[in-house]
């Protein structure tokens, strides 16, 4: 499913890459940028988290004419007099103007690195509204955003990811180079598909999907269970007649239903307890300790 997403996001789609401190999703984001450039799409990048050089490192020159980077990294809050792009400009009108100014009539793909910066400075409902309006607007074909899930409250992350048509949550994999991606894809018909894949990203920003974790795991484990009666110096196996005898055996305290009722409800003729209190036994129903000499 990861490869399908890399080959193209449907129009009006929102792809969110969720990462955490233990594994950065930025390399996967750069792979998506490289894949979009290879498909000859116009790509606009809002660069907040890292410098432009770091983000475009590894993207090959012939394609970078179609890449427009709006560098908000040096001054995202407008502390100097002339910021290139500030986080306050993350609104539908400003973004639409920005995209329309630079590119050809073809709608562009908007890449946001990272959405966490925007969420720290704008209210989550406003950000969600902006994202939704961008998708429906028409100036932008699709949006790809990186979100640091551990920097926000779970509610915020949940609300933003609910808008996404595809969600990729990355985590470190079993070996050093590899990572695990949990992919959720929501189609327009409402169907949700989920998958989990291990991948690694090469130097030239191509994603190599290494394995798809098998879903039919319970069946496999039963067959793989080791046979404990094998490879012993004594015999633990049972022959046919021994198996039959074992199954016929009744256990001492396992009663059948009839025996149980017979024991619990004694009929006439079964033993009865007759009690006649002695002089010393001060049998008082109310106070069992009445006969104590204290």
């Amino acid at each position: 499913m990861l490869s399908e997403l890399l080959q193209g996001i449907e129009t009006g789609g929102l792809l969110i890459i969720q990462d955490s401190c233990s594994y950065s999703g930025r390399d996967l984001l750069r792979s998506f940028i490289a894949a979009a450039l290879n498909r000859e799409e116009e790509v606009h990048v809002l660069c907040f988290d890292v410098s432009e050089d770091e983000l475009t490192d590894g993207l090959k020159p012939p394609y970078t004419q179609r890449l427009h980077v709006h560098n908000a990294y040096p001054d995202p809050l407008g502390w100097t007099d002339h910021p290139a792009f500030a986080v306050q400009q993350f609104r539908v009108e400003d973004l639409t103007d920005l995209v329309k100014q630079a590119s050809q009539p073809k709608p562009a793909t908007l890449v946001i690195d990272s959405l966490s910066w925007v969420l720290r400075h704008a209210a989550p409902p406003a950000v969600c509204r902006t994202l939704q309006q961008l998708r429906k607007g028409g100036a932008v074909r699709a949006v790809v955003a990186l979100l640091h899930a551990d920097m926000h409250q779970r509610g915020t992350v949940g609300s933003v990811c609910h808008l996404a048509s595809s969600l990729i949550a990355v985590a470190p994999g079993p070996k050093g180079n590899e990572a695990v991606a949990k992919i959720t894809k929501r189609s327009k018909s409402g169907k949700v598909a989920q998958d989990e894949e291990t991948f690694c990203i090469t130097e030239d920003l191509t994603v190599a999907v290494l394995s798809r974790l098998p879903e039919a795991r319970p069946n496999g484990s039963e067959e793989e269970q080791a046979d404990p009666t094998a490879n012993l110096t004594f015999n633990l196996r049972l022959s046919e007649s021994e198996l039959e005898a074992k199954q016929k055996l009744t256990l001492p305290f396992v009663f059948s239903k009839e025996k149980k009722t017979a024991l619990l409800h004694p009929g006439p003729g079964s033993g009865r307890i007759l009690y006649e209190p002695d002089a010393n036994d001060d049998y008082d129903q109310e106070d069992p300790d009445d006969d104590l000499d204290v």
Binding site: S24, D27, Y73, P74, D75, W79, M151, H152
Partner: protein, 274 residues
């Protein structure tokens, strides 16, 4: 500076990798010995150092650096070290005197919601000053910002978000623009499993800074408890690409702090054990 740590980080005073943001973090432990290491390391590399000493006095850092072989007073006189003594400067804001001009850098004490913009301006002017070569003044290398420590700003009423903005701006100015380095100390008191509210507090600050940094040195006590000969463990995580292959690399070492330094060794190879 600690020679063993230099070999672990593959760095030496003669060749300093530019543009690094080194985050020193600790959890229920004290990682300030690493700040002393980086201070003496960068002074020896002849870099211009801007030090925001928010938790201790100048005399304290001077005394420890003396033991590591570096004189802070001399460095300050020569113009290599720009030292902001947070404790003294905060007094000028809290107890304004007629003749004493209020320090602009700490004006967030007066009004915390304003944020750390003035502190950033102070850092910027301190770091940029290295460009001007006055007559007789020495030329120093790329600027380095050291902050000890960033978590104390949270207790002074500043938002975790404002501190993250401050570290972002410092990184953009010092690391990316001026090709210098940055070292920050951040401290956490709680256990890691505590589910914080996500956007407030020391945990959020630690997570945000971990996302921004390129090298993280995380200091903790030993998981097995107190030990006389081993003072704790350091986890070294390189976040950016080192060599080929975009992967994060983690190494775990144990350390012991001495009078004149600290020794680092792989787990289980302490001199007390072998």
């Amino acid at each position: 500076m600690f020679t063993e740590l230099n070999s672990i980080l593959s760095s030496s005073p003669d060749s300093v990798t530019p543009g690094e943001f080194i985050l020193v973090s600790d959890r229920q432990s004290d990682a300030s010995f690493l700040i002393h290491h980086f201070l003496s390391f960068y002074l020896r590399s002849r870099c211009k150092v801007v030090f925001l000493g928010l938790v201790q006095s100048f005399r304290h850092y001077s005394a420890v650096s003396q033991r590591l072989g570096v004189s802070l007073t001399q460095a300050k006189e020569k113009g290599q070290l720009v030292f902001m003594e947070g404790l003294k400067e905060s007094l000028s804001v809290l107890i304004p005197q007629a003749d004493n001009t209020e320090s602009q850098a700490m004006n967030f004490l007066r009004d915390p919601p304003v944020g750390l913009r003035s502190l950033y301006e102070f850092v910027r002017s301190g770091a940029v000053g290295s460009g001007r070569a006055e007559d007789g003044a020495e030329e120093w290398g790329p600027p380095v910002l050291l902050v000890d420590d960033v978590s104390v700003l949270l207790s002074l009423g500043v938002d975790a978000g404002a501190v993250l903005d401050f570290s972002h701006y410092c990184r953009a100015a010092v690391c990316s623009q001026m090709k210098g380095n940055m070292v920050m100390l951040v401290r956490c008191n709680g256990e890691e499993e505590e589910e914080e509210d996500g956007e407030e507090g020391a945990e959020a600050l630690l997570k945000g800074l971990t996302h921004q940094c390129s090298l993280n040195l995380h200091v903790q006590g030993l998981p097995t408890g107190y030990c006389k000969d081993i003072h704790g463990q350091v986890e070294v995580c390189w976040k950016r690409r080192q060599g080929d292959g975009p992967h994060t690399q983690r190494n775990l070492f144990q350390y012991k702090v001495h009078d004149k330094g600290a020794s680092f060794f792989p787990r289980g190879t302490s001199s007390a054990v072998l």
